[in-house]
């Protein structure tokens, strides 16, 4: 089983070093190799199980607005904010200085 680790890391937005990439590739391939065993089972016509509870119907709540979190609390959680907004670096416009807090 070959796995395109770079592509998967891109989907998951993970920056990995060459070393980490190689290591994960090896790990994932051995895990997936083990999982090959699953192909032996006949699951034709078997309904999948997506949840484990006995609640089979979506619970619907009444449309009655309730207070949430105060804005100050929300902005306090954010790594950076500007005025009443949460702020993040923009898409694909590399500036000179790195933005964001650490």
């Amino acid at each position: 089983m070959k796995i395109d680790v770079k592509h998967v890391a891109d989907l998951a937005r993970l920056k990995l070093s060459e070393d980490e990439m190689r290591r994960l590739e090896k790990d994932l391939e051995s895990i997936l190799l083990r999982m090959e065993r699953l192909k032996a089972l006949d699951v034709e016509g078997v309904e999948p199980t997506f949840g484990a509870g006995d609640v089979q119907r979506l619970v619907l709540d009444q449309d009655r607005p309730a207070p949430g979190l105060p804005r100050e609390e929300v902005l306090k959680l954010a790594p950076s904010s500007e005025g009443p907004y949460v702020s993040v670096p923009r898409e694909g416009t590399p500036g000179d200085a790195p933005q964001g807090s650490e």
Partner: protein, 480 residues
Amino acid sequence: MSETQYELNVGLEVHVELATASKMFCRCKTKFGDPPNTNVCPVCMGLPGALPVANEEAVRLGVMAALALNCRVNLSSRFDRKNYFYPDLPKAYQISQFEEPLAVSGYVELASGKRIRIRRLHLEEDAGKSMHAGDDITTASYSLLDYNRSGVPLAEIVSEPDISSPEEAREYLEKMQRTLRFAGVSDVKMEEGSMRVDCNVSVRRKGEAQMGVPVELKNLSSFRAVTRALAYEYDRQSRLIEQGKRIARETRHWDEDKGVTVSLRAKESSQDYRYFPDPDLPRLELDEAFIESVQRAMPRLPNQVVDFYVNVLGLPKYDAEVLTVDPNLVKFFDRCVELGGEPKPVSNWLMGDIMAYMNAKGLSYDTIPVTPENLVAMLGLIKDGVISGKIAKDVLIKMFETGKAPGDIVKEEGLEQVSDDASLSVIVDSVIAANPEVVAQFKAGKDKVLGFLVGQVMKASKGRANPAKVNIMLREKILS
């Protein structure tokens, strides 16, 4: 290049915000225009550990929308997670319905009788809003995020690629907008973002079996933008085919100012949403009784109203279509008729002076500045000959401005039509005396000049003379 050689195929994806008081999966308010980040909670901010709880009213409105658009409602449907990263998407997945949507197989019927098929209608949650900070859009280095809209319930309505002209696209959207507005499921306001449209456009040579390569259009913020962008794309794509060039499968951005579409991004391979059933939300199970109850609660839809106006009230189809642009207008009209107003005159005044006034003032139909009672009273004054149609136009303006009853305005301003013989006779005599040549021409058989004399009388009476009476009196006085 021959225009008729190519065929346009358009499918539309319409998002409408459902008119609930609280969000799809939390009970934060949905109110448009509140200060940024004031209607948020752990759920719609995607805080660790928070879980979604579905809104009953959103489901009801979704079913209502589906029924209004002739869809078949699935008694069992499911919520899936659509995974992608964007700062306005707090959980980095959107809860949507992918494999098993709420409803399928609907249609919108155009005036021509052509049906644009609706493939599916599903429920999902909206994302927050991101704006760009800084001096201008190209130099800003930050995006600013407001999560008030995050989690607002949406219905996404996907059509088949049945639309074959920009005009059809507009008609489809207008019909859908009216229908959903009448059904009361959404404000459907493009300008407030409660209705949003994406297009999938392809062009092919006529007669070709295979559909062309679809191009997705974004940033269509008005119906006008949709038609202009589609016309532009039809042109661009047919020219490319003509030149033997390939059409790229891509997303293009409509530039409203320049009137062109520009390539935004190729459909990347990384656009893999990894849909899977949301384990936090069991299946949405509905029963027939529920669907029936929604159907029973369905307000009259525009096509039913049009039928009634044409077949029962005898209005021309054109009038009926214009009046059904808005449910409030229909309500107003219906009330007028109920009060005894004659349908056609009511329609004329609504479509004419009232709409013109409201357009000029930029008013919406939920705040029509006259009451049905006053409009009907005014029509009564015209019918009884108390005022002329011309004077009525001025009275109406006064009604708009003061809110007073037309009878009061007429009395206060002394606008009653002058019909009594004595007063008219004085004016007619003075006009005859002042225009001897014209009178002579009329006597010599030039019948047409009488109009001029009537005009002079009207002028002298400041429009208040009863023109029919003036006509008769002039003839009598000159010829006798």
